[in-house]
């Protein structure tokens, strides 16, 4: 099965994102007191560090549900104009360079013109 099967449904971070996303005050605290928030939700030190470093590859490997990964990046970088050149998506390109290169080739083929970067 695919990448989503990596998900560790019992990982505290997977619970934390659910509540942060739905609560304006928690979203504010995400920006000002991430360490405190992580403690309250019972994140391990390595979960917290991967989160703080926005290390998407590592978070994916440790079992954060893949759907939450871009949401984590949007909590850091904002949600508006979430195109393929938004900072959240640039983080993906760095985390998964091989997959991104293949997608770039595909975009060139689909759009019938040379693409230098994913749009």
């Amino acid at each position: 099965m695919g990448n989503v099967e990596r998900c560790d449904k019992t990982l505290p971070l997977n619970e934390m994102i659910f509540y942060v996303r739905r609560d304006r005050d928690l979203r504010e605290r995400w920006k000002t007191d991430l360490a405190g928030l992580a403690r309250e939700f019972g994140l391990s030190q390595s979960e917290y560090e991967a989160l703080r470093d926005q290390d998407i590859r590592r978070l994916n490997e440790m079992g954060v549900h893949q759907y939450y990964l871009p949401q984590i990046l949007r909590l850091f970088h904002g949600a508006a104009a979430n195109t393929n050149s938004h900072p959240a998506l640039e983080a993906y390109k760095r985390a998964f360079p091989d997959e991104t290169a293949r997608a770039l080739e595909l975009q060139t083929r689909v759009e019938g013109r040379q693409a230098r970067e994913l749009r």
Binding site: V4, C7, E15, R22, Q66, Y67, R74, N82
Partner: protein, 301 residues
């Protein structure tokens, strides 16, 4: 007894509202025309209520408890959820619910051994917000939203979705009112939201899936489009097509595929489909012409 008067399906990717203009012009035109046609055909069917199915993107239930199906039973639905409005670039909207039908689904489902969770106040992400923006922007048609789990393992199988769809068709028909019901599936096609292949779409899989819908042979589709095949085409996202398979079970015969776009800019294989729900005319052979009246051919001569 309620009547199913329309059945349709479309992609709900946030790019369709949030950054529509970033796709190639050709994709924009295809999508716009297809959604215009869907809206026209939806309204032409004069539905009293839209019964819509979509993946819940881990918004309504925490990951420790993700029901397979959740019915929104509220008097009124308000979306998009805070924080999603910015992502989707949508203003808040209000759409009336249809609590009587929604509660009938929950209770009649239970009597038939189907466990439907429900929410009186559902939160709305792209799943319902994007299609409602294009198909029901003024909120004139009441909505019964049914959220599905298409992304938290264990992801249900297409066979299961088809079975639930077939049961739901009977449950809707057994509703004591005379409502005209439009069924709508949202989500898909191939995409891997948040996975390593976030920018990828699987055009070959998507076109095959749509061809199978065009063919109208449900069993052939279920044999070929397994959960494993969906996961290969894009993990954790392509299985949103389970919503399409629920709606498939409400239909018979071929679907009209209105458009397909392998839209990397929207990070989703994007498609729109409508099934013809008009009662089929009974084939009685060539027109005989009534006695005493000339046939069209005779008039022409």
């Amino acid at each position: 007894m309620a009547e199913i008067v329309a059945a349709m399906a479309m992609t709900h990717s946030p790019g369709l509202t949030g950054w529509f203009a970033r796709a190639p012009e050709e994709h924009q035109q295809l999508a716009r025309r297809a959604m215009d046609e869907m809206r026209e055909r939806l309204h032409a069917a004069r539905p009293d209520v839209i019964l819509a199915f979509s993946n819940d993107h881990l918004l309504n239930w925490p990951i420790n408890n993700t029901p397979e199906y959740t019915v929104g039973i509220g008097e009124e639905h308000v979306g998009p959820a805070d924080w999603y409005d910015e992502w989707l670039a949508l203003d808040k909207y209000r759409i009336p619910g249809h609590p009587a039908l929604a509660r009938h689904l929950v209770n009649e489902g239970a009597r038939r051994r189907l466990a439907f969770a429900y929410l009186r106040r559902m939160e709305f992400d792209d799943g319902f917000s994007v299609p409602m923006h294009y198909l029901n922007a003024d909120g004139r048609i009441p909505l019964v939203p049914v959220g599905m789990n298409c992304t938290v393992p264990p992801i249900p199988t297409p066979e299961r979705a088809y079975h639930v769809g077939a049961m739901l068709r009977e449950i809707v028909r057994a509703y004591p009112g005379r409502e005209r019901v439009a069924v709508l599936a949202t989500g898909g096609l191939s995409h891997e939201p948040g996975g390593p292949r976030y920018f990828w779409v699987d055009e070959e899989f998507d076109r095959r899936f749509l061809d199978l819908l065009k063919g109208g042979d449900h069993q052939a589709l279920l044999r070929e489009c397994t959960l494993e095949r969906m996961e290969e085409a894009g993990s954790g996202g392509t299985a949103e097509l389970l919503a399409w398979i629920v709606v498939l079970a409400f239909t018979s015969g071929p679907a009209d595929v209105l458009a397909y776009m392998p839209a990397i800019a929207w990070r989703t294989g994007t498609g729109m489909v409508v099934w013809d729900m008009e009662p089929r005319p009974v084939d009685v052979g060539p027109p005989a012409g009534r006695p005493g009246q000339p046939t069209d051919t005779e008039v022409a001569q």
